[in-house]
Every structure is written in C-alpha cells, then in structure tokens.
C-alpha cells in the first residue's frame, strides 16, 4: 500500500511537470494569438482570452500538484536501467503493452490500408491468439485454439461488416 502511494506521488510529480509545461505553452500561444484588430473586433472578444485564462488555471493546479508531490518525496524518481528492466517483467505491464500494440496496429496501421473485413479478421485473430496461445500446451490444444480463433475472427469480421454496411447503412472505414 505504502509502495503504491509512493509510486503515485512519483507519477504526480511527473504529471505536475507536464501540466505546468502544458499550461505555460497554452498561455504563450494565447498571448501570441492574433487579436484580429484589422477586423475591428471588440477587444474583450479576442480569441486568446479564454484559453489564456485556462492556461493560467492549469499552471496553478499543476503547481499545487507539484508542491504536494514534492512534500511527499515524489521527486525521488530513482529511474535506473534495472528498474525499467524489472518493470517489463511484470505480467500486467506486458499485457497492457501487448493490448496497446495490437490495437494501434489495427486502428492506425491496417484501417484505411487494407480492406476492412480483412483488417478486422487479422486483428481479432491476432488478438485472441496472442492472449490465448500457450507454448507449453499440447499441440492438439494449441491447434484447436488457433482454429477456434480463426472461426471467431471470421464471424466477427463478416457480421460487423455486413450489419454496419447493409443494416445500419454506415460507410466502412
């Protein structure tokens, strides 16, 4: 529990720095934003007014978070190669990384480049196999899982494509 709290303070420290940087950037951008004087607009309606104020609020909130994380020792990040190496071995981190990887490949790589049903088939099949395939399992179980994954992927790709295209009249990506 204490370890989780410590980790959270470290995360807060980094987040606070990001928010401060973000807030300052927004304020600078807002100040530099055109004031549209050539259009004779009311000076109280300049486009940068509200974003600038929001940027200031974000700097204040980020500052509060930074101050709090420093009080709790969040600045001791203790980043080392060994710790990063340990992080990769945590099963949950590996599962999240794998999920992100396959989802990003599908959404940003396949979609728009491959025919939609094909890309969906490949994604669903890849996803199921990635998380269900166990090298230590007997060959028969492994083969059965791959076949079942293939059938499920085929069904998903077909049903989603047909239902969205012809029933809901949605253009497929």
């Amino acid at each position: 529990m204490a370890e989780t709290q410590k980790g959270m303070h470290k995360a807060d420290f980094i987040t606070a720095l990001v928010l401060l940087g973000f807030g300052v950037m927004v304020v600078v951008q807002s100040v530099q934003m055109p004031r549209l004087e050539h259009r004779g607009i009311n000076p109280y309606t300049i486009p940068g007014l509200v974003p600038g104020l929001l940027g200031i609020v974000m700097v204040i909130l980020g500052g509060m978070l930074l101050a709090r994380s420093i009080t709790h020792g969040g600045y001791t990040l203790e980043i080392s190669r060994r710790r990063i190496g340990q992080l990769i071995t945590i099963p949950q981190v590996r599962r999240v990384t794998a999920t992100l990887a396959v989802c990003l490949v599908y959404a940003l790589g396949f979609i728009g480049r491959l025919w939609y049903p094909v890309s969906t088939f490949l994604f669903v099949f890849g996803f199921i196999v990635l998380f269900e395939y166990r090298p230590e399992q007997p060959v028969r179980t492994k083969s059965r899982r791959i076949v079942v994954a293939g059938i499920e992927a085929l069904l998903t790709a077909t049903v989603v494509s047909v239902v969205f295209r012809y029933l809901f009249l949605v253009r497929l990506p």
Binding site: M33, Y44, P51, L61, T99, A107, P173
Partner: protein, 510 residues
C-alpha cells in the same frame, strides 16, 4: 406537473404505442442490459455506439433507443456486480458490496430479482422527478444571461471534479479544466478563428465528442480489462428471481430516500450514476436499523444502491433537457446525439418544443417497464454471456470502438482521436484522475468561452456584474464551497460553528 403536462405525457405515450416502437424498446433495452452486464462495455460506450447506428433514424425513435440503452445498461451492470463482484458499469460498484456476498450465500437469484426491482423503482422515481422539474428548471433558466452561463460552466467542472474524485478533488479539477482546454481546440464560436490546430485541417472542427468518449470509455476500458487476468463467475444455482413484495416493501423509506438522493446527485452536472449509488448507499447505511449487515449481503444496501443509480439516470437527463448540460457521462453522449438529430435542448426547449420533454418522459416509462420485464426473465440464459472470456470479447469491443468513432462523420481522423483519448483515459484511470469531469469540460468549454466574452462585451470589461447578480452569487458560493469544503481548516471551522451554536442553544435553555 400541470394538467397540460399530463396531456402532453399522454400524447407522448400514445406516439410510441406502435408495434415497431415497442419492438425497438425491447431489443434496445435487452441490448443495453447485455452491454451493462459485460465488464468493459459501459453505458457511455453503449450509447455512443448506438448513436452511430441510429443517426439515420428519425429523432424520436433514435432518442428512444438511446434512452432504452441508457436505462438497460445502468441496470445490466448489477448482474456482473452480483455474480462476478465486478461492476458492469461504474454505476454498479456499490451494488457489488452487498450483491456479491448475497450470491456467495447462494442467493444470487434473489439478489438479481431485488436489484431489478430496485432499478425499476429508482427509474420510476427519476422519471417522476424528470417530468416535474425539467419544465420548472427550464423556465427558470430562461432568466440566465451570459454571466450565469459562465458561472454555471465553472460550477459544473468544479463540482464534478470534487464529487467524482472525493479522495483527491485536485485531480478532479485538473481533469475538468483539461476538458475545458481540449474544447478550445478548433474554430471558436464568435469570430470563427481557428485555435491550437498547428496547421492540421482535421482539427479545425474541434475535438468531436463521440470519438473522444468512445476512446475514453471504450478503448480505455479494453486496456483496463486486458490488464487483469480472468475472473470466474460465481457457480450458484439461480432459483427464485421474482421477489416477494414483503422482501422490499419493508424498506420503502430507504427506497424513496435513495430515489430522491439518486435523482438529485444525478442532476448535478457531470457527477453521474456511480456517485448517486454511493451517496444513496451511504445514507441507507447511516439510517439503517441493521447497519452491521451492510457489506455482508444486506438487502437494504443492495436496494439503496440500485434505486440510487437508476434514479440518477432521470436526474442526469433533467439538466440535459433544461440547460443542455449533462448530469453524467452517458447523458453527455445523449446530449450530443440529440444535437446530431436536430433537437436543441436547453432553456428554449420549453418554449420551442415542450412536447419533446414529455416525449422523453414517455420514452423513460417504456424503457423502465421493458427493463423490469426483461430483467426478471431469461436470467439463466443471460448469465452464460458473462462466461465469455475477455480475450475473445475485448477485440470485438475494440472493433466496435473503431467503427463507432468513424461512423458518424466517416472521418479516419476520428479513429486517431478515439485512440488518443483511449490512451489518455487509461492513463488518467491509472493515476486516479476521474474521466467524467474532462468529458463535461469538453462540452462546457464552448459555453464558458462564448459567455465569458459576451458578458465582458455587455459590461464593457467591468467585472462587477459577474459577482453581484443574484444567481451568479449563489453559483459562486457553491463553487467556493466545493473548492474549500474538503480542506482541514473548513472542517475545523464548521465543527467550531456547530459547537458554538450548540452551546448557545444550551445556554438559552438553561
């Protein structure tokens, strides 16, 4: 509700009593129950997906289907909360506290039946409040000017941040203001000047709400679900589901109290059904004759949570219709869907289209009835859906996220938005930042931006009217209260005041 209101409600119900509409009500509510049941598919995600599927329908039918999905999914989440100890939607977290122990005691059927009855009663209370208060608040909001709308936007973000992150309100406020900043991207509403797009033409239209919400509530949930390994369904015989009246009738006070609390909490901008359920549960425990049973399988606890979250649905729709400000994340999608269908909720709705408010009440009644009937039937069959492994379900959910984000405007860029918000939503959840205030911020950003600048034009830069108009003063007081309400010095101050008043009263008596 006036006689005229009752008349419009009757017209509303009459409009929907066709075979086609009743069929739509049944399938949409059943789908909502299934969506709610499945961890990883939330009410917000369900409504967002349904928006993309219904945008070619006529507005009445489309909104009806979305409301059925909303009510069905908020109820459906109780099923997995009871059987898996995992709330299907965040709104059912309080349900799991007593529902799961009941299932472990072999009373899963009874727990499901009582949760269904609780949801039905909560939904009815929410519906009555919706019918009574939407016209009143709508008419009251007609007196709002830019000053009030500006403060209302600030109030929404602050109170949503405070209530959705009770342990750390600072993170809730950061989330809310981040949402307001996100809303600044794209073309602003007064001079059509394009802001923060960095030359990207796709961003000039701003960040669309539906892809952002599909990402923040759909993709983020896929990552979250895949992080953990599978959880087993409680292996219990589901026997009697239909509850006996005496089982819940003795908790009538808790039911009414939880319904009113749920509706009130639901109506607070951006707070939502989960907080509605927790506050109702907390009040029920405090005033219970048997508080020791709470957490051990208390029927009263289970009822209060389910009444609270479903009453909050009605509550969340009140500000949607009256002010065009959502009471919860699913209500935010509903609001966006109404705009897509050409319905313009807000203070003018009661003047331009008063019938629509009562049509929504009629939709609510149909959806609630369908939820009750479907909730008590096919229980054993539907439980099987919970046994589908997440490794098979989550890729399908993500496929739906992608097509859901793309479908409304057929823009590939919206898929990118969905992915970005999914990763952002996941990171926020991991670091204890609530996502709901950010969503509310995205909606309120435009209101805040336009109204602050308009008000400054009206006063020629004078800030005094912002702080002197009566409604503004009330809103400022609420904002200050939610900002300082959790600080130590404020609780010391209130304790001192309480002691002072008590000793004063005692002194007078003696």
């Amino acid at each position: 509700m006036s006689f005229e209101g009752l008349q419009m409600l009757a017209i509303g119900i009459g409009e929907f009593l066709t075979v086609r509409t009743l069929f739509d009500v049944l399938w949409a509510t059943q789908l909502g129950i299934i969506v709610g049941m499945l961890p990883g598919l939330t009410a917000t995600m369900g409504i967002a997906l349904m928006t993309t599927l219904t945008f070619r329908m006529d507005p009445g039918n489309a909104v009806l289907i979305l409301i059925c999905m909303y009510i069905g999914s908020i109820y459906g989440g109780s099923r997995s909360a009871i059987l898996l100890n995992i709330p299907g939607t965040p709104a059912n977290a309080a349900t799991a506290v007593d529902g799961h122990p009941l299932a472990m005691q072999g009373k899963a059927g009874q727990a499901i039946g009582l949760a269904t009855t609780g949801s039905f009663l909560g939904s009815l209370i929410g519906m009555i409040m919706l019918a009574m208060f939407t016209p009143v608040i709508g008419r009251f909001a007609l007196s709002f000017q830019s000053f009030e709308f500006f403060w209302l936007a600030v109030f929404g973000v602050v109170i949503s941040g405070t209530l959705t992150a009770p342990k750390d309100p600072l993170k809730g406020w950061i989330s809310g203001f981040l949402g307001l900043m996100i809303a600044m991207v794209g073309m602003e509403g007064i001079h059509a000047h394009v802001r923060f797009t960095f030359g990207n033409a796709d961003l000039s239209g701003g960040i669309r709400l539906i892809p952002a919400m599909v990402g923040a509530f759909g993709f983020a949930e896929v990552i979250m679900m895949m992080k953990h390994t599978r959880v087993d369904v409680v292996k219990t015989e589901i026997t009697r589901v239909i509850p006996r009246i005496k089982e819940f009738a003795k908790y009538w006070k808790t039911i009414i109290r939880s319904g009113l609390i749920g509706t009130f909490v639901g109506a607070i901008p951006g707070v939502g059904e989960d907080i509605g359920a927790w506050v109702s549960y907390d009040f029920a425990r405090r005033s219970s004759k048997e508080p020791e049973k709470f957490g051990q399988g208390s029927i009263e606890g289970l009822m209060s949570a389910e009444v609270g979250n479903n009453a909050a649905v009605g509550g969340a729709i009140i500000p949607v219709l009256a002010l065009a400000i959502p009471g919860s994340a699913p209500a935010a999608v509903l609001l966006a869907a109404m705009f897509i269908h050409g319905v313009r909720p807000g203070p003018l709705l009661m003047i331009e289209n008063p019938q629509f408010v009562y049509s929504v009440v009629a939709m609510f009644l149909l959806a609630t009835t369908a939820m009750f009937i479907l909730g008590l039937s096919m229980v054993r069959t539907l439980v099987k859906i919970l046994e589908v492994p997440r490794t098979k379900l989550m890729p399908i959910v993500f496929v739906l996220c992608v097509i859901g984000a793309f479908a409304v405007e057929s823009r590939a860029f919206d898929i990118v938005i969905m992915v970005v918000f999914g990763i952002l939503g996941y990171a926020m959840q991991e670091m204890d930042y609530p996502v709901a205030p950010m969503v509310l911020g995205i909606i309120l950003g435009d209101i805040l931006d336009k109204n602050l600048r308009r008000a400054l034009v009206l006063t020629d830069g004078d800030l005094v009217p912002f702080f002197t108009r009566p409604i503004s003063v009330v809103l400022i007081l609420f904002i200050l209260l939610s900002l300082v309400g959790k600080t130590r010095w404020f609780s010391r101050l209130t304790t001192m005041l309480k002691h002072g008043i008590l000793s004063l009263v005692k002194g007078r008596k003696s």
